[in-house]
Assembly symmetry: D2
């Protein structure tokens, strides 16, 4: 049986997932067969071009018509478009794979999670960094107790594409369309990774204190003399206390000059520590119990997560490979009826933390994570 | 004229400063002549040994008798001993050089600063990292506007000497003797560097939110079966808003497994960025306005701060050299009647931030820095 | 028109090129249309499986029958199989793309190059590292004179898959089948990159002195009790003088414990310098004329070579992407009648250097490169 | 008893050793007592200033008069001044400590070594990098078999102070005064370290092939319109075969733009590997048998060589500390009648390799090391 996939959204994420779907047969032989059936959007001409390039059989401008037609529905649109089609698809019994963050606001995220609970099909949340081999390897080490009791978790996601005040306005700068700025776009990844990596050892984040900052208040609209207000954060920081007493510090920025896609995670425990940077995603730095310093591991051996599907040791993979792994796991869960994580529940859990950071910023107080 | 120096304290800091004094004549020819006159402490036998090793002419167990006898008084004792002798010396018109943090508590720091204001002799606060050539070079770059408007300041000071729960209790674990733990010992350095580096561009820290954590509650007393309670923090984190709107995040720990003396500072501005780590103190990483990435600069050229006194390019200096530079500047100020920074006012300013972090941790709210 | 491609070889290189062909339509819209027509090999069952996985229409066990049937012939077999089919294809007027090194010996390489000269179709030599964006960017900098006069070129290619004396014997350990060991397999890449990067500035290598070493003389045959002799080098080193007087030092090893695929290039000139490592292939370290240290550049901006086809800044690519770029350029040359480099002439030029290194090792003398 | 030390030479090396002598009492309590007795040179005025700065009791312009007066004679003059005073001192029974390389030529080095053999006092060769804690720790690991059988030794010493063709002429550019250029000045350090680190495991260098290059043939004389010829090498490279079959590659340059004092050593063995760079001299990168990558070790723990004399973990030392360790060991050998390495025999052994490299360059052949 071939899974017919419908995809809403054909820009950056559309291409990343289409590429992933296209690569599965050659590298993941046990992945379900997939047809890129329908590409869904609003602009018919652009959609036709994209479908041609991305290898979709047909196009549609009406998601509502398609959610019953396809075996899987990918929602890759902007944040404010996540809820309605995803919920409708789930209500129709169609598995959904939705980009992150789950929703612009916590309320909406809760509705989506409820819809996922009510459905009995997989509802995936596309936190692709869980599928970086180095991070999956890291998780295994933590689960095996190699780091001991966790004391510190530190996550920073630094980009600089807004440091120029004349960088153009986009939906990502708008509270209605995006919910939040660096916090939701980048911070949601960090929070999800913290949960993924140390959630079992350190428990959940109990309380958190946050700070949002907008450095440039309005930006030019491309191709016009107009400017529009920036109604989301350009950067956030947060400090957290986990159930276990572990301390977390988190930060993201679109103003971190010199950093393009620099997502770093650092964890220190009673027996060992580790460090990771997305810009060197094939590497993990690991302090073992009996060693004297961080060991720089190239996580490209056949025994490393997903690597047997790719190339020999030292033949590094790229950012896009995380989408192949993610799609492989999600589609396998769809085909086999298995469980997939991160799911909408995980997306909701991250959203609760994002929401708490916003509440803390608004009130100037530490807040409990709901 | 030779300055007679009296030094209270003969352990780690005693040796660091005695070494600095001993090295001035060979490397800083225009430094004032100095005699290591008297070493002050309580244990006469240990004191005699130390004086012999460190090159002091005589010893004393009574600082009160010595503060009038010497031309300069160095207070290198534990934090709870900073105030009384320093204030007495200043009241006698003797210049004082006091280890950091200025005092265990803000109240005491304010008394000390008041005494310094009332005296007209230098009162130095020994934040030696201001005298790392790479950081002094960094400050010059920032002053010259090379980083533009400052958006982010990030400082972390990571050590791991307490990660073993059986590491012995010391005065540094006691609130009465030390005031605070990682916060005062390590965080005071970070806060001072933040002020030093971006104080003029970003203004002062207006509000701050902090978190203290103690991971191990009691520790064994060396050479006994007893344990004593740990009444200070093992780690702290904080997030700050500067006057200019710049965001600061700060953190220190004595539980950061794998990090020995890892004090890192990162600053991102509208035109450039920089990074520094104390474990590689001869290096500065600099993003310039027209470059595409961080440049790793070995700050060991003849034109770099203090380097003409030392060795040819690439012949790296060590941690202790910061004390030589610091002593050179302080003693020159004493001899020439010049101004020295960091002084007690700077020490007080850092202490206000430390105090605010403690208040925020206690109240669970953002607080203004007094 | 769709180019029908026939591919001889279906293992490591077969998959790398098949993947490249498969990805062109989605990412390089102006690439010629390609059909993976026929996969050629000896073992019919394995071939059928591979053709299925790699997306070929049909299979064949007789390359001689196919070289006229296809529009392009890819020769991805072991080194000793490079010559005959490639020459036959060229004689039939079929463009050929052949894996590196061009041939096991210089004599054979010369025959192949002659066949390419006699044909008027592209004959490509698959030195894929010329298509790493960071290296192509580096070449542009050198051409623009950013490094000035070249003084030093240093190239090392370190792997460790043979450091275990029980690692099994393969064709790569046999002089008949492979020609040489680390020298041809790894060194050919280094020599080609040196030519590519500094060939115009430093001229050709005039004389060279080389050393080959075999650390383990025989190896077990997998699945048997037998051992077979290792008749090629496990490692080589060489030192070279270029026409301009520039000094080159080259080295490769399969015994460099801890190095998986560590191909580093370092170039120092009168105005600037650069460094590259294949294990961090998205990065280039560059010393500019007016800077003080190497700048770590993430070569992932839209303006960087080939990057506009992929992802936003900082979303790193992998090793396999070099094959996509290489195939794009080669197939475009085939379709448009353009010139493609590296071609068999380039392959021959590298082989002359390899041969000179072997002659030098045999005679214990510096030798001229023919 | 206090050792009276006479020192010939008061520039760079004079200061490095004077500083080392001055620091012994405070940090190495069991070091012999030393008086900086007499500073020897030719220019009386400069000498007087230097003696004052460096803490010598008196000065002399006639070394011949002093070699009997002192307990230890330090020869820190240019290379062509190494032989005569050192031999005379040894003939007088005065221990000698001589800067490296031992002599400008192999003949002279042999005379010096013979004089040392005939005397029964220590004759030290000042290869200070043997006293870097990280390298001494490395040697211990190699001796303990942690790297297994040695396959590769790689040493490079890169500087760039001559890359500017207008950098002034000095004695270091003259064959009469210096013997050789980068080869003797920098290469001698590398060769000595290779012997120190792997001499017991890999045996001696049996044969070697070398290349010398001079990029700029004449240089301006400072303060005049004159130029003088450069009669030594600006850079060298060499490849070597050790008795065990291990491969060595060596290189040094004064034209390596962007490298100030970048002396790197890399060793790969059957069980492990290590890397070191002088510009980060507190660090050692170590691949252990059971680990997956190089571990970055800060060699500043109390248990590390010499570190208990200095500061707590992570409080890094500098280049000059190697001289303190070296002087401590040499003077202890003088006082206790013990053996000191590196001695003149070690200096001679290095010189044999340098000489072989020069012979190989001259003849274009591999040569045996005498």
């Amino acid at each position: 049986m071939t899974l017919q996939v419908g995809v809403l959204g054909y820009r950056f994420m559309g291409q990343a997932h289409a590429n992933a779907l296209a690569r599965l047969p050659m590298f993941f032989e046990d992945a379900p067969d997939v047809e890129r059936d329908v590409l869904i959007g609003r602009d018919e001409a652009a959609l036709a071009d994209a479908a041609d390039q991305l290898g979709f059989t047909r196009t549609s401008t009406d998601w509502a018509e398609e959610i019953d037609e396809v075996d899987v529905f990918y929602n890759l649109g902007p944040n404010h478009v996540h809820a309605e089609p995803s919920i409708a698809a789930l209500e129709s019994g169609t598995p959904v794979f939705c980009e992150k963050p789950l929703a612009p606001t916590l309320d909406v995220a809760e509705e989506m999670a409820q819809a996922a609970r009510d459905a009995d099909v997989p509802a995936g949340s596309a936190f692709n960094y869980r599928f970086v081999p180095a991070l999956r390897y890291a998780k295994g080490l933590i689960e095996d107790g190699k780091l001991g009791e966790i004391h510190h978790i530190r996550g920073r996601y630094l980009q600089d594409w807004l440091v120029d005040p004349d960088a153009p306005w986009s939906w990502r700068n708008d509270a209605e369309l995006a919910g939040s700025g660096a916090l939701g776009d980048l911070g949601s990844h960090t929070i999800d990774l913290a949960r993924f990596l140390v959630g079992e050892q350190a428990g959940k984040i109990e309380r958190i204190s946050g700070q949002l900052q907008t450095f440039v208040d309005e930006r030019p609209v491309e191709g016009s003399d107009e400017t529009r207000p920036v109604t989301v954060d350009d950067a956030y920081s947060a400090q957290a206390e986990f159930e276990s007493g572990a301390m977390g510090t988190f930060e993201a920025s679109r103003f971190a000059n010199g950093h393009k896609n620099d997502h770093t995670i650092e964890i220190q425990g009673s027996k060992g520590s580790l460090r990771f940077s997305l810009e060197r995603l094939n590497e993990l730095e690991l302090l073992r119990e009996d060693s004297r310093g961080y060991e720089t591991i190239l996580v490209t051996d056949e025994t490393d997560p997903y690597i047997e599907h790719w190339w020999p040791p030292g033949h590094v993979i790229g950012w896009e490979h995380t989408f192949v792994h993610e799609n492989y796991e999600f589609l396998s869960a769809v085909a086999d009826g298995g469980e997939f994580h991160p799911n909408f529940e995980d997306g909701l859990a991250a959203q609760r933390v994002l929401d708490a950071i916003e509440r803390s910023d608004a009130t100037g107080e530490w807040v409990s994570v709901g």
